[in-house]
């Protein structure tokens, strides 16, 4: 129902695969387009494809070849074994999951709450407060990360999960996005529920959230990717190996293994760090793409 109007505005890329042909550049004919897109696609994905194959190539093959080659002659899993055991990679990945899990949970929960208040309630200073949320979107991280570093260090939270997580528990983008969606749900529904004696709290969790599953899961994807891919903050706020996230771990792993030119192990490590985001990409590609496209169109 109400999801329909939102998808109508948001579905700019259409049903990616089943969109009706529009006859835009049809003079081209399909074949040259297929060939160009295949070449472009392979070039763009090439760094990942190379990493994938190299992660299965034995070390002697990589360093022994006169020229780099894409496919391994013999396939091996020993690079993954090495990456997983030769450095605290399991710990890095665990740290990343804890950090990302809490950040995502916090951002989604708090954005649902704040987005709901901005969408449904009237209250004093509403416009000013909303402007403050939106204004924070244009504050670049350069401006905040030094004071935040000093604050977190003073709290003794360097090298802790709190230090990694707490500064990112809220998301202005999430508040904005969910507010927009909540406002698209007919207000009559709310008025009717109120007449039936439903509380605001009840209405949020029993009506609003179930109706907004699409928008909430889209934001969850953004929050997850943003948190998992964080780099500068975890780099400065952790200096103990046991608290590094996967993104930071791969940097130090690279520095150590490069001396041994162990590129197979490095690429296995890179694949391990990438896999959660690649899985999200493959499972939720349409939602992700739609969400990004909307951000551009709204301008």
């Amino acid at each position: 129902m109400s999801t329909a109007d939102v998808t109508a505005t948001g579905d700019v890329l259409g049903d990616t695969e089943h969109v009706e042909p529009r006859g835009r550049l049809s003079r081209f004919g399909e074949i040259p387009v297929h060939i160009s897109l295949l070449i472009v696609g392979l070039i763009v994905a090439m760094p990942i494809i190379i990493a994938l194959f190299m992660s299965f190539t034995p070390l002697p093959e990589i360093v022994g070849r006169a020229n780099p080659k894409l496919l391994p002659d013999t396939w091996t899993l020993e690079n993954y074994d090495k990456a997983w055991t030769a450095s605290p990679f399991p710990r890095y990945v665990l740290n990343s999951f804890v950090q990302t899990g809490f950040i995502t949970l916090g951002q989604v929960l708090f954005s649902v709450l704040a987005g709901y208040a901005f969408a449904m309630f009237d209250f004093r200073f509403k416009n000013a407060l909303f402007a403050m949320v939106i204004g924070s979107l244009i504050i670049p991280f350069e401006l905040t990360f030094i004071p935040n570093f000093l604050l977190i260090s003073d709290l003794g939270w360097a090298n802790t999960y709190q230090g990694l997580v707490v500064p990112f528990l809220a998301s202005a983008f999430g508040v904005f996005m969910l507010r927009q969606f909540f406002m698209s749900i007919p207000r009559d529904l709310y008025e009717a529920a109120k007449i039936d004696g439903a509380s605001d709290w009840f209405y949020l969790w029993r009506v609003m959230v179930p109706l907004s599953k699409g928008a909430i899961s889209a934001f969850t994807i953004f929050a997850f990717l943003g948190a998992w891919n964080q780099y500068l903050w975890p780099l400065v706020i952790t200096n103990e190996e046991s608290m590094r996230t996967a993104q930071i771990g791969i940097r130090f792993f690279l520095v150590n293994q490069e001396r041994a030119t162990d590129w197979g192990a490095i690429m296995a490590g890179a694949m391990i760090v990438m896999i959660p985001t690649l899985v999200v990409f493959i499972v939720a590609q349409r939602q992700l793409v739609k969400g990004i496209a909307m951000s551009g169109l709204k301008g």
Binding site: T16, V63, L113, I138, L143, V175, V273, G296, G299
Partner: protein, 312 residues
């Protein structure tokens, strides 16, 4: 930041008047807002002020002793050749990434906008995938590609008879190497935005042009690109901001080097604030200048938005 304008417009529009008298101020609202504002206050609003305050102090590397020095950090920076070099690196980097990144994205998006009976899903997957790749991973993947022994770039170049450079160890090429990497990581995002813009264009325009006998390239030049200007404007702003903030790739590929060849403003803030002796005041001063530049650019987008509304 993309959505900013709309949000403001939305915030001021309220329920229709006939309904308004029934709505009362809801005190409970603050309960829902509290967690978000608590976090934003501590980790965004307060640091803005604190950042500026720090930039007016000389901060002792150890023990956190501070000495108020007014604008000394700023004046010293403006007189230092190293500072202007980081500005230069940032600008070259911007000039290198933004036009190339957007040009490629638009070309690819035009190809993707051609309706195909099959396989378009696969092409999209291959082309969009950098969207989920982190700056750290992009750095690691390209570090392999640039490697003079096991890397692929110089091997490919040798196939066409070109003797590839020592990418990461030569001043000019190191900057090019970082530029290519960032263009790649941004490409998925840029193509998605460009494609969305192209698909907003009214089909009738193309039909009319076809009737008039305009060929493919004429149609791209006279219809697609002009109609796409709002999207191009948006992409330019976003990409300029992203290029000014590039950090992860530099940290992994070149560590700001060789020499200072790839030390942009963000990287210098990081080095001053967190590497070796900490110059927190100087780092804050640079961060503040960079932030003002970025915020100013964001405001340009704000204002440009008015034009785009007429467009549609």
């Amino acid at each position: 930041m993309a959505q900013t304008m709309e949000g403001k417009a939305g915030a001021t529009s309220q329920a229709p008047p006939h309904r308004r008298h029934r709505r009362r101020y809801n005190r409970g609202a603050y309960f829902y807002l509290f967690p978000t504002f608590l976090i934003l206050a501590i980790f965004i609003y307060y640091p803005i002020i604190e950042s500026f305050r720090l930039s007016l102090n000389r901060v002792a590397p150890f023990g956190g002793k501070e000495l108020f020095v007014g604008f000394e950090n700023y004046t010293r920076l403006l007189q230092s050749a190293d500072f202007w070099n980081t500005v230069k690196v940032s600008l070259w980097f911007m000039v290198g990434t933004v036009p190339v990144g957007i040009g490629l994205a638009v070309a690819i998006a035009i190809l993707l906008s051609v309706p195909l009976k099959r396989l378009s899903g696969i092409y999209r997957t291959l082309i969009f995938v950098p969207v989920v790749i982190s700056s750290a991973i992009a750095g690691v993947l390209f570090r392999l590609l640039y490697n003079p022994v096991v890397g692929f770039f110089n091997h490919w170049l040798s196939l066409i008879g070109v003797d590839g450079p020592n990418w990461l160890n030569e001043q000019t090429w190191a900057l090019v190497a970082v530029t290519i990497t960032v263009v790649w990581r941004q490409l998925g995002f840029n193509v998605i935005i460009a494609l969305a813009g192209i698909q907003q264009i009214d089909d009738n325009l193309y039909e009319a042009a076809k009737v008039d006998g305009a060929g493919v390239f004429k149609r791209i030049w006279h219809i697609t690109l002009p109609m796409l200007t709002p999207t191009l404007f948006f992409l330019t702003i976003v990409n300029v901001i992203i290029s000014l903030q590039a950090f992860g790739e530099i940290n992994i590929l070149t560590d700001g080097g060789p020499g200072r060849a790839t030390t942009n403003l963000v990287y210098q803030v990081f080095v001053d604030g967190f590497v070796g002796t900490h110059f927190v005041g100087r780092a804050s001063a640079q961060a503040f200048m960079l932030a003002i530049l970025i915020i100013a650019i964001s405001f340009i987008q704000f204002r440009g938005l008015g034009k785009r509304v007429h467009y549609q």
